[in-house]
Symmetry: C3
Subunit: 364 residues, 3 copies
């Protein structure tokens, strides 16, 4: 499946974007500048599999998934009936707007249907229902399941009796792999060369992560995918007030990476070096959420590099000033826009419908 972009795509300069959109809007077709082919065989390896962690994606599968998402985003391969007859169960035992609605919207735009638990208190879990049994139940009710839960082991428990594919939509302080997909989909549309080229040493990027990968699930999943891009990321600085922001498990992976890791508790002092800043507002600490320290705030007055971009999974807290929204540093709104397409690509891949979409079977 070869996708030939008419020519090398360059993004519209920020000042020429339509006035009613805020932040960068990189062209999804830029993902094909370096690699025009979508390798179906790699995507097929994900069919029927569950996605419990960012670790399930190697670099090649990730890039094929993003290219497929880009094809969907450009609208060149209509898929509005690709999942007709399929049901997504969205089981959100922890409050969420974005992730749940994003999955539901992705599923509905593919012609599928959704059944949802929006609140643990509306479920039998309130009466002590076991997650194993809920997994068994979903075998009969749905074709694919996305789950969010406050407990780290909930995803594992739910998968024990489940025979349909499961997506981890955030499990306590552990992981949130599809948020990381949305994050990296936005980054690679903006700079495809991070994944597809071998940059000279002085062009490699310096990534700043504000927060604690050890107990912030979006940050952790983001970092796991960042390690896959080690050829063109020279440095990662973790900015946190905590003594051990990585935690033992993720530290082991970072130690083995060729990327140089630094640690700082001075966000403003680091900004002059950073090409990409990843923020999140809250850490999940077992008994609830904790906001970032008030030292970690970005605004239009922050000494950002001219071409630096900021990513944030949203919802935001005071750490991200709205005066950054209408600047070319804002890649976070593009992240949110792309999330529906990357989740569509994932649903189609897991349910084995990539080929039929690319063969134009749904173009009416």
């Amino acid at each position: 499946m070869v996708v030939q972009p008419a020519s090398q795509v360059t993004h519209t300069p920020y000042e020429e974007l339509p006035g009613n959109v805020l932040g960068l809007r990189p062209d999804p077709q830029a993902l094909f500048n370096h690699s025009p082919e979508v390798k179906l065989d790699l995507l097929k390896e994900l069919t029927g599999k569950s996605v419990l962690s960012a670790y399930v994606f190697d670099k090649q599968k990730l890039l094929e998934l993003f290219k497929f998402a880009a094809l969907l985003q450009t609208g060149r391969f209509p898929a509005s009936r690709a999942l007709t007859g399929k049901i997504l169960a969205a089981a959100f035992f922890e409050p969420s707007t974005r992730t749940r609605l994003s999955f539901e919207s992705a599923m509905l735009r593919l012609g599928g249907e959704t059944i949802s638990v929006a609140d643990a208190k509306t479920t039998g879990v309130a009466k002590g229902e076991s997650l194993r049994d809920i997994g068994q139940m979903f075998n009969s009710y749905a074709d694919i399941v996305v789950v969010r839960h406050t407990e780290q082991n909930a995803v594992q428990l739910l998968s024990e009796y489940l025979r349909v594919p499961l997506i981890n939509g955030g499990n306590g302080s552990d992981e949130h792999p599809t948020q990381a997909l949305a994050d990296w989909y936005a980054l690679l549309k903006w700079r495809p060369e991070i994944a597809f080229s071998k940059l000279p040493e002085d062009k490699k990027l310096h990534l700043g992560i504000v927060g604690t990968p050890g107990n912030m699930r979006t940050v952790k999943s983001f970092l796991i995918m960042a390690l896959l891009m080690h050829e063109n990321i020279s440095d990662i600085t973790i900015i946190s007030e905590m003594a051990d922001p990585l935690g033992p498990e993720i530290k082991d992976f970072c130690d083995k990476s060729p990327i140089s890791f630094k640690f700082s508790n001075d966000l403003q002092g680091c900004l002059g070096d950073l090409d990409i800043i990843y923020m999140n507002s809250i850490a999940f600490l077992g008994d609830g959420y904790r906001h970032l320290s008030s030292n970690f705030v970005l605004s239009s007055k922050s000494p950002l590099k001219k071409d630096a971009v900021v990513l944030h999974p949203l919802a935001r807290g005071p750490e991200l000033d709205i005066d950054l929204d209408d600047t070319p540093h804002n890649l976070y709104f593009n992240q949110a826009d792309g999330a529906v397409f990357v989740r569509q690509a994932l649903l189609l891949t897991m349910l084995g419908r990539v080929e039929t979409v690319l063969q134009g079977e749904y173009s009416s």
Copy 2:
């Protein structure tokens, strides 16, 4: 687009209506007695626009919208696939059954899909998510949004970053414009001459409003639309125990109207004069809901004029006795029935699909 009713429609007398329906059931075709044409140009002016207040409707647009709703209600123009591929986001940050389910039902019966927030506690708002960012999020997830919120300024905040049309489904003590659409759709089916004729002085109507337009959103939006009918409404009596039931903003509009305004705190004493009584059970007072005074109760024993009708947006409290349900004073159940059609008409208008429906493109 001319709709020719076979002849002048007169409503079935109450005692001849089927026994299993309660209350009046005026024929929607009566709306075409005076004006058989649906003026598409007027409806097109609402396409892509948001509906934050009852003020967006001038009298002409309102009547065309009602005639379009009537066409949908008669079933003459099938529209069950008119919004296929479109998604309505129903964002109800304040509890609701009627309005949310009514919009969802309207959307689904047009072939569209819905994603819903039924409870603020199930959302990122619980973690402090800003409404601006939620608006930005809906740009990617939905084609049209209806929002309800306890705060008056929430609708404005949500619309700031939103690029798809927004419907105010009730914002604190401010407005609830689509409830007023349902109210006036019922009233004009019952008496089309209120809008379409010039009645002689002694046939003009006297409208009674129980409650405080200043802090009851349904009452306020209802009153705003009532002012558009000033040619045939001679008097409006506001029945309330509060010293200033109008409040400064709406008082200004009422002062400019040719309608004569009266104020009373004696409901029973007013009933002999009133042709239409609009009630609501609760006022939203910033920190919660307050019921009407127990002096304001209507029942079958109340000294209502023979042809008087009662409107109530429901859910009801003790102010509206169920013994009125099976009487020809009950127009409130018809209000509820019509709400789905008037909301269908609004969704089709805002999404630019009126013409295709009237051209019969969805009649299969």
Copy 3:
């Protein structure tokens, strides 16, 4: 409508079932071993009717409904568009996962749509809305309604003004008829002869019910249907620590049955006699749920008869050990799997679409 099974169906032995399924998986076609015909006339008697209690089903209607469910489960009569254009309102004023999602899934797999109340707190009921008025509202919003409520009289109140068919999805401590449908659908797939033959005296079955039919709704509805099978059920033992587990209403029915009733508070001591054990974890006692006594626990160590099966409506508590899951005593997971099909059969029957499905009108 005659369904000819190729030959007498015998179920696959447990050890030969696929390893990824737990518990028994009887073949739905076994239901046609004794009676190959689906009697449409009997099903048509349920069209447009409400299902408030297990009493609405006589034995003949029950068996035709199960055979129709079996046809849907085998996939021989595609029905994925049979309810296109129809809306199910799922009004769950009491927490539920299983029943709500099962009905939603059933409706969506038939091409219908759903609008849902998942939590009483998200509704106008929180503001004191009357159930009568909610019923009136659903006339306009939906074509069929399923309701769950903590109060026994809620189903009756909701039905007073309702003109579309209503399904009782559990009303306080009273009834849960569609759970009983799922229970008996599983049992009759496992042993069709219970309903379709006249067994010799020594082959008749002994049924054990752990719990109190008087105040456990699933147990009560299950027992009502058990009474219909009196020809082949010789004994029912009620195992409970309560003095009067039946309660006055149901006791009257049991007294008239030819089945011999026994009472015990010693579960382990009864097991040697029981062919079928029906358990539930919780009783609804007006002010909340109460778990079973810890004396009433089944596990793989319990002295069950070799061919005995256990039924449990789930969610489970400690009374049902997970070490029974991977044994041939586990019929409870099959119960859950069949629930979607038996609810599909019920929806199609109540909405009058059985015939069109069996005539293959939706086989595309």
